[in-house]
Symmetry: C3
């Protein structure tokens, strides 16, 4: 089956999902990101790679944080960035998603960064672009429904590689609401592709998807067991809406079982790193002593995220 | 009477309305737009004509689509663009429109792109600028009430000239809610000025203004009759609010009478083009087979729209 | 006690409040602003001082006008500007203010422009930056609660110096709702620091803070007395919410007592200037004949405001 993310030379044309990407492409993105790390640290944080290109941030779902990271990354590549608050736009007037896309393509858009509440929306757009023969226009998925958040997955991989060097010796635990998390899904595919031998999922039964074992993931309901001897602990954000729902007794109860405290973290390897996609709920999924502690690499994740997004945008626009 | 759009040398100082503009100026704008067409197709879509100038998008009425086209056009001219969401701004605090303008002029604004629900608001601003002696500050009307939408009118003319070359042999039909349409009003003035010999208005009596004949427009209530032998068919968007009102029986009924289907389109000339200002209501005023068909030039309109807006902004700011 | 606004060399690292700043720094800002005045009047309104730097407008409280002036100033310094509408952002998801700041610092922010409803929020941010050792990141207070609005205070000083040259011979009156005004507070500290011998506060008892005399301010409840022989009259905006509250009988009554009319202004010196931070309530705190009269310097204040904000941003980012 043809992979809609790759062009006919097998190069990355769109970043829609980590699932199905070969290891070589993941490594290419991480290596390119490494080369951009010093740009953001410069006095003049600019490279001219996308100068004069039009990048559209199409956020059908609100996310200031993610939009901002893409906006910064695009501006550091010297692109012209147009933010479209789609709630306010023509979609509200009954225009279809693909009519909106056709219009923006007619304005000579070069790259769409798409966040959408519906799983698969960025795929639809990429397929449509292919159907109308516009292989010069590219799509980057900035999170679609519960499906995927590939740039978050990639920045997580960048972070792990930065601190642990070699993927093939690691034990990585992902903790929390994996059922509703596109981050978890992207991380699991990336970790597997990059050769991590043991991926663990830790959480209450109500927040874990069924059939995780088919992805090669080891399931733990007891956090103490699950954290044992891990090299990397990826904490997930507990969405506020879950806490008041039937899926969980209370935030306090959740914290008691699955909140990462210094005591629980002590069960992992002494040099284990702690990651979190942000924004954090301190006292819900993570104790402040861990969030601000020496093993946390949560802020470096943000820094790496800019470089990874610059890498993805420059790679797809260059192919 | 002095035309407030022209400076004392008879050059375009503001674009407020197509009504009253001489043919020479319309042609100048279309010719300039033609010269900008290749900029958007370039790898680096930039010319430095407005470098360091401050363009303010003053949208008192919401329109993501129109604002975006002006923002792109201004950025491709290298201007600094400031988007002002006026609902949030000082006007809400009781400041008058002209006090807001005075303040922005004091910030060294060069060009205002104005969308306003009240007919005549851009005129008021242009007159005020003249009164305070600021002939270095310019106004472009991006749609005022039911009055005018001159850049849409101009991009429609660009589209017609592109496909039909000569205005003086054409039969052009405008179909739909002409009563509430500033696009129709701008199109009628432009078509007349450019020498189109026959302009037709097609729609139910409740959606056509009285006295269209005084503008030289031929009125048709039967769409089959009206489309006969036309070279150009301009479909208008049916506003959702009309459909639930007393003016129309229902969307289905409207489509049956005035929706453009392949069958009805077959009554026009075989090489007739179909235009629409967007966003389209598929199945209301236009059938998808027409919208996506070979005679539709709806997406080229969008592309031409960027070039036309670049032309208008560079001409007024250069005069 | 250490002044959090100054670095160890005594240079301006953050602009948080005029209170506590030495006269030399105020004068440095005014002199630098003077050198930027011609940039905005140029054809290409750009200097490359902040090229490639990332300026974040963090507006936790809505203010299109102030945000716009900072955005323009930053763009004229060639910075990349990111506007964050914080109501929409992670703060709404329960993230703490300092976690948000940490994230933006991790994205290599250079400068935060902060507007916040809580007095002291910019101080908290500056202290936090110092605590985490990031003396390369700077904070400019764009208005915090009732506390301070230092760039407004500075542009007011620029205006007074421009028209009156010497601060040490002046009688300056501030009229209106001083109790709730961060502008008044910043003006009083600036006027005192720059050596103005007589500062007057005019308003009803309900709108004046207690203990103004401790700041060396002369209090007047009768406007006719208070305006007598003044060189400078600074009118304050009467917030709409005050007018319906218990603090004031009515807008009409307020205007009768404290609205600046030509008659009342005649009591000041013949060459007195009239200032207002905007947006004006014509007919409430100021008569249109005064607002548009020869003694008003309200629009020049706006022009000077851009230069002053360019000066502040370039000075803190350069230190």
């Amino acid at each position: 089956m043809h992979n809609p993310q790759l062009n006919k030379n097998g190069e990355l044309a769109h970043l829609l999902s980590i699932e199905g990407l070969p290891q070589g492409i993941l490594t290419q993105i991480l290596d390119t990101a490494a080369s951009f790390m010093e740009v953001s640290a410069r006095d003049v944080k600019k490279v001219p790679l996308l100068r004069g290109k039009s990048v559209f941030n199409l956020f059908f779902e609100n996310s200031t944080r993610t939009r901002t990271t893409f906006e910064i990354a695009a501006k550091r590549l010297s692109a012209d960035v147009i933010n479209l608050d789609i709630n306010k736009s023509s979609t509200a007037k009954g225009e279809t998603l693909l009519d909106t896309i056709d219009n923006l393509v007619a304005m000579h858009a070069n790259l769409f960064v798409v966040r959408h509440a519906s799983s698969g929306a960025p795929f639809l757009i990429a397929e449509h672009l292919q159907r109308i023969g516009r292989d010069d226009v590219h799509v980057v998925n900035a999170g679609d429904g519960r499906h995927a958040h590939p740039t978050q997955g990639l920045l997580d991989m960048y972070t792990i590689r930065h601190y642990k060097k070699d993927f093939t010796q690691l034990r990585v635990a992902i903790v929390g609401d994996i059922l509703h998390s596109r981050v978890a899904r992207s991380d699991i595919h990336a970790l597997t592709t990059l050769g991590v031998p043991e991926v663990r999922a830790i959480g209450p039964e109500t927040l874990l998807p069924k059939h995780l074992d088919k992805l090669g993931v080891h399931v733990f309901h007891d956090m103490n067991e699950g954290l044992k001897d891990c090299d990397v602990v990826i904490m997930l954000r507990l969405q506020n809406e879950r806490m008041s729902g039937a899926l969980l007794p209370s935030a306090g109860e959740y914290f008691r079982h699955y909140g990462l405290t210094p005591q629980k973290l002590a069960l992992a390897k002494p040099d284990a790193i702690v990651m979190h996609p942000g924004p954090m709920n301190r006292g819900v999924e993570i104790h402040s002593a861990v969030a601000d502690g020496e093993q946390a690499v949560i802020l470096p994740q943000v820094t790496f995220g800019i470089a990874v997004r610059m890498a993805v945008m420059s790679i797809v626009a260059g192919n």
